[in-house]
């Protein structure tokens, strides 16, 4: 456990390395498409437009009210699902580096979260666009998005570390996680809100930890203050999750080089 924490600090200290590796990953994605940086945003934009049209119809919502919900939901979910579905492969994907270069393994986790964060920044343009189109007033409340984002990143980081270590040991876990991601997307209030559910079935949303991770960032981005309970839950999740991840990573840290 102590070693695991030292490893995390050591990994953070190598920020120079994972920041440039992350940028490198992003640039790589630019290179593969002719539209470059705009491709990432455009792909999300198309998805947001399509989903808004279809689901506003299905849920009998007004387009203007529904657009910001879908835009913010999809962009935030893109960040979360990107971290999780790639996080479970984080050590497997870096196997050749892990076996050749002595470096704290946590750098691979930080690199992944950082890369996904850059993609998220590309997509945030779409949320701004939705806010402008639907005329949501810009208020200082929106600044709460910064602490919310920090909490979200803290939670995603421990998830990556935990899933990455499990995924390296048990090779069927990446497949299991990836096949559950689509279902998780549907049962998490990304395109809908818990209030859409009949009151006696809202517990489905409230039991889902991802509900809070989406909502804590979505609320301030759309100009409302997230309820105090959400902050508490997200904080507890971040704290408890970090401890879990540190314990498990502490136990598997020395083994990962053999597993991958």
């Amino acid at each position: 456990m102590r070693d695991a924490l030292l490893d995390m600090i050591e990994g953070l200290k190598r920020g120079d390395l994972w920041v440039s590796l992350g940028w490198h990953d992003v640039k790589q994605r630019y290179r593969r498409s002719t539209l470059g940086p705009f491709w990432i945003t455009l792909a999300t934009l198309i998805m947001v437009s399509g989903m808004t049209l279809v689901y506003a119809g299905l849920f009998r919502q007004e387009l203007a009210a529904f657009l910001p919900l879908v835009a913010s939901g999809l962009v935030i979910w893109g960040f979360i699902s990107g971290c999780i579905s790639e996080g479970v492969n984080v050590f497997i994907g870096a196997s050749s580096t892990i076996k050749q270069v002595p470096a704290p393994l946590t750098i691979h986790v930080f690199r992944l979260v950082w890369t996904q964060f850059i993609y998220f920044l590309h997509n945030i343009v779409i949320i701004v666009l939705a806010i402008v189109i639907t005329g949501i007033p810009v208020t200082p409340v929106m600044l709460l998005a910064f602490p919310a984002l920090l909490l979200l990143i803290a939670n995603l980081t421990w998830m990556c570390l935990l899933l990455g270590a499990i995924g390296a040991r048990f090779r069927d876990v990446p497949l299991i996680v990836q096949s559950f991601m689509a279902a998780l997307f549907m049962i998490t209030p990304v395109l809908w809100q818990p209030s859409f559910l009949p009151p006696d079935r809202r517990w489905v949303a409230f039991l889902n930890p991802f509900t809070y991770l989406v909502e804590i960032l979505r609320a301030p981005l759309l100009g409302t203050v997230p309820p105090f309970s959400i902050w508490v839950i997200a904080l507890i999740m971040a704290f408890a999750g970090c401890i879990c991840a540190a314990v498990l990573y502490g136990r598997s840290r020395t083994q990962i080089a053999f597993w991958v």
């Binding site: 190598r14 120079d16 390395l17 440039s20 590796l21 490198h24 790589q28 290179r31 050749s96 580096t97 892990i98 076996k99 050749q100 270069v101 002595p102 470096a103 499990i166 040991r169 048990f170 090779r171 069927d172 876990v173 299991i176 840290r253 020395t254 083994q255 080089a257 053999f258 597993w259």
Partner: protein, 274 residues
């Protein structure tokens, strides 16, 4: 001052079978008391190193001698901090540089320059030092205008040259070299050889694993013979090779008799059930 000390160093690692790599099988075998997936959940453990003791001092040029699978590469990886000892202890002082697979972490879509920067960051070289070394690396690798192009346009030899130039431009107290760090054509090989010797001269402790006896005899002062993960001999490199030759001379008929007779007599691979 650089120093490397190993006390009863041991490394044991699992070679996981396909079924031991499956979480579903693991849960299934737990819940059914091992009846369903029981037998197939076993995994093999390899004792790659056991009870290895040594101390390397500044000035030591150590040759690791042993046939394939004797534990040379494992030992180098432990010294590099990639593998962690499962028993015993290792104490190291000084900055370590590892020259293993020269081609690690090369990004084929990135240019030569970008690759230098990326690799140098992996090796923990500060930015100012990278900039200072850049010209020298480019000059040595003789890649010229190719440096601006993605390295997927390079030939194999060109990539190897670049990788070699970067890896050998670091400063280290303890240098670890695994065999097979070749770099390009014959003319370049001579140049690379000089550079490698220069690198070795700059380092306080060098640990070398190679099957090339001639090179090892000329570069090293001390020889460590490993077999089946055990340290059998530690002394001057000439004596070490003499010991090794005698050992191999005995080992060949011995291993044949093992194959003919019982199979598990001296095997270091043991079956463990999960």
């Amino acid at each position: 001052m650089a120093v490397v000390e190993a006390y009863d160093l041991g490394v044991r690692y699992p070679v996981l079978t396909a079924s031991a790599r499956s979480l579903k099988n693991k849960i299934l075998s737990r819940t059914t008391g091992g009846r369903i997936a029981g037998n197939s959940a076993g995994f093999v453990e390899v004792q790659a190193l056991s009870e290895v003791n040594f101390t390397f001092h500044p000035g030591d040029r150590v040759a690791l001698i042993g046939h394939n699978g004797s534990g040379k590469s494992t030992l180098l990886r432990v010294l590099a901090g990639i593998y962690h000892p499962t028993s015993g202890k290792i104490r190291m002082e000084g900055r370590v540089a590892a020259l293993f697979d020269a081609g690690f972490g090369m990004d084929f879509d990135a240019t030569g320059y970008e690759n230098i920067v990326l690799r140098a960051k992996y090796l923990g070289i500060p930015r100012s030092e990278i900039d200072r070394r850049m010209d020298e690396i480019v000059r040595f690798s003789e890649l010229g205008e190719f440096m601006e192009m993605p390295i997927r346009t390079y030939s194999l030899g060109m990539t190897a040259r670049l990788a070699f130039a970067i890896s050998t431009s670091v400063e280290a107290d303890i240098l670890l070299v695994d065999e097979g760090i070749s770099a390009g054509d014959a003319a370049f090989m001579a140049k690379a050889d000089r550079r490698l010797r220069n690198f070795i001269d700059r380092s306080q402790i060098v640990v070398f694993a190679s099957h090339d006896q001639r090179t090892m005899m000329s570069l090293c002062t001390r020889g460590v013979v490993l077999q089946s993960g055990k340290l059998l001999f530690d002394g001057p490199v000439g004596d070490a090779y003499a010991y090794y030759d005698k050992l191999v001379g005995i080992a060949i008929p011995a291993s044949e008799s093992v194959r003919a007779g019982s199979e598990n007599s001296d095997s270091r691979i043991s079956e463990v059930s999960a």
